[in-house]
Assembly symmetry: C2
Homo-oligomer: 457 residues x 2
């Protein structure tokens, strides 16, 4: 590993320059106006694969944004590792809250600020640079690798499941590694053993066929904004529990052991509140903050729009109201089942005064990966070498639906080695990545490939 680490050391400036190149491409998958940027970004990733010396690299078109596939299979008799990541990023609005342009990478205080820096371009590049270091040092890798980098993670990976289902042989591997999660805290290497799932909907309510004068009609015609507020408010009770009948039926209860692990983590609720800028936290009664975000399902409002929202006053009774809502799911909730329960509850709550249109937008299963699996343990040893201390095992409240797909379709476990930090503003303005974690990440995953080569899977 000495030569590999030397390669990582001497390549540091170049790695950073390449990260900036990657981040400059506005690969926003949710907005059709960025289609060309998505193609450019896929080409950029393929160019990296070619540049570092993979044996094969390919852009694979889908019905949506393309996948980028790369492989190096020269480690005969050694395990095969599937490396998954995504090159697409979240939308950037509200744009006015960014201190530097979301696609103009800017380094301040040892962090690089740009959309996609921590989620997930920076973490994808960690793997590319670690593979490159091995190849530069020894002309070969300690394990076989297959890269699968998609462009639709932020919009529900609509075309990925079908691709995986149809390419089981090509993607055959002994384990998957995904770097798209966060460390529990600064300098605390972390393996994430659980993820929440998600179902996402847009609710559109249509009332009168035109915006109305709120004086002439107010009081007699249902206000779609008001109806929406009542429906959304009714989705949770006063104890923060979701009211959808059957919602909690399949929720796996937290074990005493897990609750103990969470309690032992260095979680400072006062610091958490201070960093978020809130006076008080809130959530489901009977659960701690970590339990709430890791192991309990939620109902969240992601967007609201109705009526007049500009400067000043406008006495309008809006014709329409829209909400984007999502539910985070935990094992063993099933997204399709929850979607059905939600729709039934929503339709039951919706009065005849408005027309309801419901659009399901994305979904993904929750999952747990066993801590004891030898690939996970190889990851733990690698992180200890990369960071100088043993990792902690946590869950994550976010969703990486493909992890459940790998488990379901390829029957292999996923190791979640994450190098982000919890407050790096993924999905929000001023997203950034700590550059020391970028460097230690490359070292850690280089070690991971090495550890895995001595692991029986």
């Amino acid at each position: 590993m000495k030569d590999v680490l030397q390669q990582i050391e001497t390549g540091a400036d170049r790695h950073l320059a390449e990260l900036k190149e990657f981040l400059r491409i506005p690969s926003v998958s949710s907005n059709s106006s960025h289609r060309k940027d998505m193609e450019r970004c896929a080409e950029w990733v393929k160019g990296q694969f070619e540049g570092i010396g993979l044996e094969r690299s390919e852009i694979i078109p889908t019905a949506g944004h393309p996948l980028v596939y790369g492989e190096w299979l020269g480690a005969s008799g050694k395990p095969t590792l599937l490396i998954y990541g995504h090159y697409d990023v979240q939308p950037v609005d509200p744009l006015d809250l960014w201190e530097s342009g979301p696609f103009e990478p800017s380094i301040r205080d040892g962090r690089i600020y740009a959309r996609g820096s921590t989620d997930d371009k920076g973490q994808v590049l960690i793997h590319i640079k670690a593979v490159e270091a091995h190849l530069k040092a020894h002309g070969k890798l300690p394990v076989n690798v297959k890269f699968l980098i998609e462009g639709e993670e932020e919009v529900g990976s609509d075309n990925l499941d079908a691709f995986i289902a149809e390419n089981g042989e090509r993607l055959r591997a002994d384990a998957v590694v995904v770097s798209d999660t966060a460390m529990f805290d600064r300098d605390l290497p972390t393996i994430t053993y659980g993820l929440r799932g998600i179902v996402f909907f847009q609710i559109d309510l249509e009332g009168p066929n035109s915006d109305l004068h709120s004086g002439s009609f107010g009081g007699a015609v249902a206000n779609p904004g008001g109806v929406l507020a009542r429906i959304l408010a009714a989705m949770k009770d006063d104890n923060g529990r979701v009211t959808i009948p059957g919602f909690y039926d399949d929720v796996a209860p937290l074990s005493d052991r897990e609750r103990e692990i969470y309690r032992s983590l260095p979680f400072d609720e006062d610091r958490y509140k201070k960093e978020l800028g809130v006076e008080a936290l809130s959530g489901e009664e009977g659960f701690s903050t970590l339990e709430r975000v890791w192991a309990r399902p939620t109902f969240e409002i992601n967007g609201l729009l109705s009526g007049f929202t500009g400067e000043g006053a406008k006495t309008v009774l809006p014709a329409r109201a829209m909400a984007k809502v999502s539910m985070r799911l935990v094992p063993d909730q099933d997204p399709d089942q929850i979607a059905t329960l939600f729709e039934q509850h929503l339709r039951a709550l919706c009065p005849p005064t408005v027309q309801l249109r419901l659009t399901r937008m994305q979904g993904g299963k929750p999952c747990l990966v066993p801590i004891e699996h030898p690939a996970v343990q190889a990851g733990a040893r690698a992180l200890e070498k990369g960071f100088g201390r043993a990792p902690v095992f946590i869950r994550e409240g976010g969703s990486i639906p493909v992890v459940a797909t790998f488990s379901d379709l390829l029957k292999i476990p996923t190791v979640l080695l994450g190098f982000g930090l919890p407050n790096e503003n993924a999905h929000a303005p001023n997203e950034h990545l700590d550059l020391s974690n970028f460097r230690r990440g490359i070292v850690s995953v280089a070690h991971f490939y090495d550890e895995l080569s001595r692991t029986s899977l």
Copy 2:
């Protein structure tokens, strides 16, 4: 009156051309980017006053948009009539729902489509053209008139009350006439004897200091959009009654006589629903539709905004949520008192998980004008001459706060002679004015000045 009516007849094409000119000026008072248009519109009104031969016309600057004042005081010993109207208009969004440009007047099916056509430029021009017809026919008017046309009606008339308070002598009159209301139905001339008041607020809730990833934080951090939905939903009970403590304390109950009058009006609830495009109406239990919009107070949502509202899905936990809300008030509710009760209730409902910022944006008192007043009766006779049938007496759900001001400060009654129709989309896309009512309006108010000259006030 024969010569006057002849003048109105021969001037018809010119009146219409002038109406189009007036409507082409985008005098949106709520948006500071239209300041120049507001000035241009005030100049246009002053130009009319000069053109028709008023003795004096003047643009009066205020802290906001200017007033336009004009007078003709040559009818010695006759009553003096104050003619109030407004040249400002509502904002135009959603722009994509307009079938022709909001400031490109378009005539279709005997109606003129443009923002401000019915509210209130068309109705202001009715008075200007009626005065012009008298002056052209006889070189004099049967009564003294004072025009007061303001530019801030749609944003709460912030500077009008102070002007009236400070100019009691200049504005001294025996009655006010306002044409800014609607007829009960096509071909049914109408005098409005009651108006609702209003208080309008913007509610801003701030949660975390940045938009958050709804997976990583959802369940532990209060969602400002969710908090807003709960607060707004709590403002009304299941019977459609506003829950603000004390809200109904000063509401004057409807008399049996009024309920009878309303029941006798040709109101077709099925047609009303069909025109609005709604399956069902909704409102406060125990009251009919007309009672709800005319004589009962409301709580309405005028705008909602939070989180991501663009195309696609974004799994964000929003940092902020905003609502614009207003309450329509009825006699004898006091806007200041209701504003205080609302703020107390809102603060009691708002949890410590978010910061509340409340901005009061406009307000106005409700009022009733006695049907028996001789000026109102002169109006009734004039409408009968203009339309060929006796008018009905109704209330209106909208607010014209200045009517209460005239009563409070000038101690004079206001006659509400309205020539709009209820479904002319005031405050909404495709606002329009029936051109036959524009013409009959000019005839009616020309008769009104004449009737008033023989009335003892």
